[in-house]
């Protein structure tokens, strides 16, 4: 919170100004990407996200900005949107 004006900190740029419906859609879409790495994202009360791998390890993330760093840590390999294998997987649906 800003000490001078008391306003809560702004949300992440990619999530700003969007509502519940967009958040649900965002989680679904992120999961299309994360499935390629054996990970899954869940929404916790519409406030934070919970990231899980198939072995039961999990991490709480606040927004899209911190999601990818945590996802890379859980996956144990780089998550690159330019990776041709990921691009092909997204195309296949």
């Amino acid at each position: 919170m800003c000490a001078l004006c008391g306003i809560l900190l702004q949300s992440h740029w990619a999530e700003r100004g969007t509502g519940r419906r967009e958040r649900v859609f965002r989680v679904r879409l992120v999961n299309r990407v994360l499935a390629h790495y054996g990970l899954e994202l869940g929404d916790w009360s519409g406030r934070v996200y919970v990231l899980r791998d198939r072995k039961g390890k999990s991490a709480v993330v606040g927004d899209l900005g911190s999601l990818w760093t945590e996802a890379e840590r859980l996956a144990g390999r780089p998550l690159d949107p330019l990776d041709p294998a990921l691009v092909a997987a997204l195309r296949l649906g």
């Binding site: 740029w13 990619a14 999530e15 967009e22 879409l29 900005g65 330019l82």
Partner: protein
């Protein structure tokens, strides 16, 4: 929340005319009352303006990423200026001008303005101006990585000392600058004189002004290219794609700037420097009939085709979801 005060950055390599430009700008009455933050005292003609000095002090965040560092010195100065302005101890300045050192990386300064908890609520980045010396600019761009970074990050490039250089040399430099950063406006200053209205007007070069046939620039493995997308892009997909791209390749994606058609009446204005992304602005309407998305990307070791294919795949996934 009160309107946030604009902060303009004046960057540029050593001896490229930053101080002269700043002094001339400050002499123009139409600039209004300005607070000026510099690294070295004594050279800027301050006249009626406020002048503060900072030492480059950076706070490295846990992720160790240099562009995500916070310039603690700058944040302290801005907070102090704000407190004193609020208490009426100093005049109610209308804008802040920050002159960086010749070797400074502008990215942490932008990050400080956009991410520091107090600063982000009271100040906003207005524009990044980089001065480039017509006599030495080409050589500096070849030898100094800092100089290239300053050019790439700038919204406006001011070619200085053009009056003492041969025209062919100035033209060659401007061609190089446009190739390095097609999103920036290139201006010429004679003895530091540039109209503040041109230099500091809100917004940057409209990406739609970039010609479709404008050749992609390259500088070693640095590439500048423009992506054109003919149909609306899903905003969620774009946000997911860009955050993931910047997380994976943020050190190499030096600049992302453009207009995005998200299917709304107006476009979304994008502006990012490495991991530092300005809050996207949703415009009410397009100024003309051309509604295609145009995104300028300046990156190291990344090809246009792979970026295009990746974005299209994310967008297609959104449509299928």
């Amino acid at each position: 929340m009160a309107e946030r005060l604009p902060v303009a950055l004046v960057t540029g390599f050593l001896g490229s005319g930053k101080t002269t430009l700043l002094s001339r700008l400050l002499a123009r009455r139409e600039l209004g009352e300005a607070a000026v933050i510099v690294n070295e005292l004594g050279e800027v003609a301050i006249d009626h303006h406020l002048l503060r000095r900072v030492d480059e002090r950076t706070v490295l965040l846990a992720n160790g990423c240099l562009c995500c560092t916070l310039r603690g010195d700058l944040a302290d100065e801005l907070r102090d200026l704000l407190s004193r302005r609020t208490r009426g101890e100093i005049p109610a300045f209308r804008r802040v001008l920050v002159e960086t050192t010749g070797l400074a990386d502008p990215a942490p300064i932008l990050n400080t303005l956009l991410a520091e908890p107090v600063v982000q609520h009271h100040f906003r980045p207005e524009t990044v101006i980089a001065t480039v010396d017509a006599l030495n600019g080409i050589g500096q761009l070849e030898r100094q990585a800092e100089s290239v970074k300053q050019v790439v990050v700038a919204d406006r490039l001011v070619v200085t000392k053009g009056d003492v250089a041969e025209r062919a040399m100035v033209d060659r430099l401007e061609q190089r600058l446009r190739a390095l950063n097609p999103a920036a406006e290139v201006l010429e200053a004679s003895f530091g004189e540039v109209d503040p209205a041109v230099l500091l007007t809100p917004g940057d070069r409209d990406p739609r002004e970039i010609q479709v046939g404008e050749p992609a620039g390259h500088d070693g493995d640095l590439r500048a290219f423009v992506l054109f997308v003919d149909r609306p892009v899903d905003w969620s997909a774009f946000g997911i794609w860009l955050t993931m791209l910047l997380a994976a390749r943020g050190q190499d994606v030096l600049r992302v700037k453009g207009l995005l058609d998200v299917g709304a009446p107006g476009p979304v204005v994008l502006n990012g420097v490495q991991h530092v992304v300005h809050p996207p602005e949703h415009l009410d309407a397009w100024p003309d009939e051309d509604h295609r998305s145009r995104i300028v990307i300046i990156a190291r070791g990344i090809e246009k085709d792979e970026v295009e294919e990746s974005l299209a795949a994310f967008d297609a996934a959104a449509r299928a979801s």
